[in-house]
Amino acid sequence: MAEKVIICKDLTKQFGDFYAVNQISFEVAKGEIFGFLGANGAGKTTAMRILCGLSYPTSGEAIVAGFDVYRQQEDIKRHIGYMSQKFSLYENLTVLENIEFFGGVYGVSRKEIKERSDLLVKDLGLEREAKKLVSDLPLGWKQKLAFSTAIFHRPKIVFLDEPTGGVDPLTRRQFWDMIYEAASSGITVFVTTHYMDEAEYCDRVSVMVDGRVEALDTPNKLKETYGADDMDGVFYRLAMGAKRTGD
């Protein structure tokens, strides 16, 4: 049995009498690409915030990268990477300055930053843009660079919150190539997305409805179970039953 890097048991977050996250339980193995789906307001963001050590659950247990979400938030933060569509890089810093900054934040040594960033810039084919401001890069490159910085400190888990929103289909695929590469190097990928075809790229997918994990399996098994041709159909069927709406 592979090492478990995320273990959730009956995790609950309550706001007043509203259960944003309602007793969710699941485990994610090392090197797994775990898709975390759900309609707006299903509780995805809240659950993700807890797992990233940004907010406390009301009840239940969760261990992320071997650390407890109640007591070891700081340790969790040091061992994960995070990237979202909304914020990932400083637009008014150059490519290299961004890498240096985020590397420094996670305590990567100066020497290592230098070595790894040279390599990274070369891998991304950004040699000519390394000293340019991030704001001058096309969106697709920004997203790729953002992902690279998120895993720069070699975290155990990387959380991706709708990383490919608004990106062209070609870049989206290149982005997923990078995700696969990271996963095969042992980094666990926890990803939310609005693109249902991307759900198919995941090893396993969970679908949240009204604060609960309504379904969790490999994409193929889910399609079988719900008699759908694609993940779109699976999601549609599950989300149709939602009572709760909201952002």
Partner: protein
């Protein structure tokens, strides 16, 4: 002869004193009563085109007509005749549904009662919540309200800039159903979206990338124009297969599409399916499945992008 509701002739738009080229010589015609889609990722120039068509921005070059009026000369006429939903449009969060509707009706010099039949279909779905503030509505309901607001003065042309972005699958489906019904009422609709799967819901589409139109046609024709045979391939380990296939000299392109890989070959083979299966198995892949498939809009988009480069 068909009437043209929206036409752009060599429209160009730059920002930052010409440094950023947002719209690059775009010419396009939307027929009256047509449901036309602008398909492209962020930064393709969709929003700039909408703002030019709504007279909010002046183009740096080219001319355009909306509902038969010139964009620059008759901008007031145009403002009376278009319904517009901006990309980041979020209504007045602190006003109720009813108050929002009344307000926008007033701004357009009309009342809800006057064009009720047009919005009735959509309004009925949010009517039970009419005293709820817009800020407390779900994404889907907000979208319906925004559409009502854009329709309230019975516009001739409806311009919707990414109405389904950030909205979940269920709401997106409902929204497109509403657009189809509106089309039946004779309203010309120009809608943009970054979701390729929504393209097939339009009558005609323009595929956009970096300010340029790559192709304008019906979704069917765009797919038909796909110049090569397209194979869907999968095996037990899809990622390893992707890497292996890309290394083959005969393979032109190979991209992940859902659970499959979509592959084209440099020169079409009669027995492409067998060849691919053979190659994959020789590389040690198990449970290899290969089939010849119809390309999707997304396949075409990627193909066109590669050709442009």
């Amino acid at each position: 002869m068909e009437k043209i509701a929206v036409s752009l002739n060599h429209i160009t738009k730059t920002y930052d004193k010409g440094k950023v080229l947002a719209v690059d010589d775009v010419s396009l015609q939307v027929k009256q009563g047509e449901l036309f889609g602008l398909i492209g990722p962020d930064g393709a120039g969709k929003t700039s085109i909408f703002r030019i068509l709504t007279t909010l921005l002046l183009a740096n070059g080219g001319t355009a007509n909306v509902a038969g009026y010139d964009l620059v000369k008759d901008f007031r006429e145009i403002r009376n005749r278009v319904g517009y939903m901006p990309g980041k449009f979020s209504l007045y969060q602190d006003l109720t549904i009813q108050e929002n509707l009344d307000f926008f009706a007033n701004v357009f010099g009309t009342s809800m009662a006057q064009n009720y039949e047009l919005i009735q279909d959509i309004y009925d779905q949010i009517k039970p919540f009419k005293d709820r503030r817009a800020g407390k509505l779900s994404g889907g309901m907000k979208q319906k309200l925004a559409l009502c607001c854009a329709l309230i003065h019975k516009p001739e042309v409806l311009l919707l800039d990414e109405p389904t972005t950030g909205v979940d699958v269920v709401s997106r489906k409902e929204f497109w159903d509403m657009l189809k019904r509106l089309k039946q009422q004779g309203i010309t609709i120009l809608v943009s979206t970054p979701y390729m799967d929504e393209a097939k819901l339009c009558e005609r589409i323009a595929l956009m990338q970096q300010g340029r139109l790559m192709s304008v046609n019906t979704p069917d024709n765009i797919v038909k124009d796909f110049p090569a045979k397209l194979y869907a391939v999968k095996s037990k380990n899809v990622y390893a297969l992707l890497i292996d296939l890309r290394q083959l000299a005969e393979v032109q392109s190979c991209y992940a599409f859902g659970e499959f890989l979509h592959v084209t070959l440099k020169s079409d083979k009669v027995d492409g399916e067998d060849w691919l299966r053979h190659v994959a198995e020789r590389k040690g892949h198990e449970q290899v499945l290969v089939k010849l498939i119809e390309p999707s809009i997304e396949d075409s988009f990627i193909r066109l992008m590669n050709e442009e480069e």
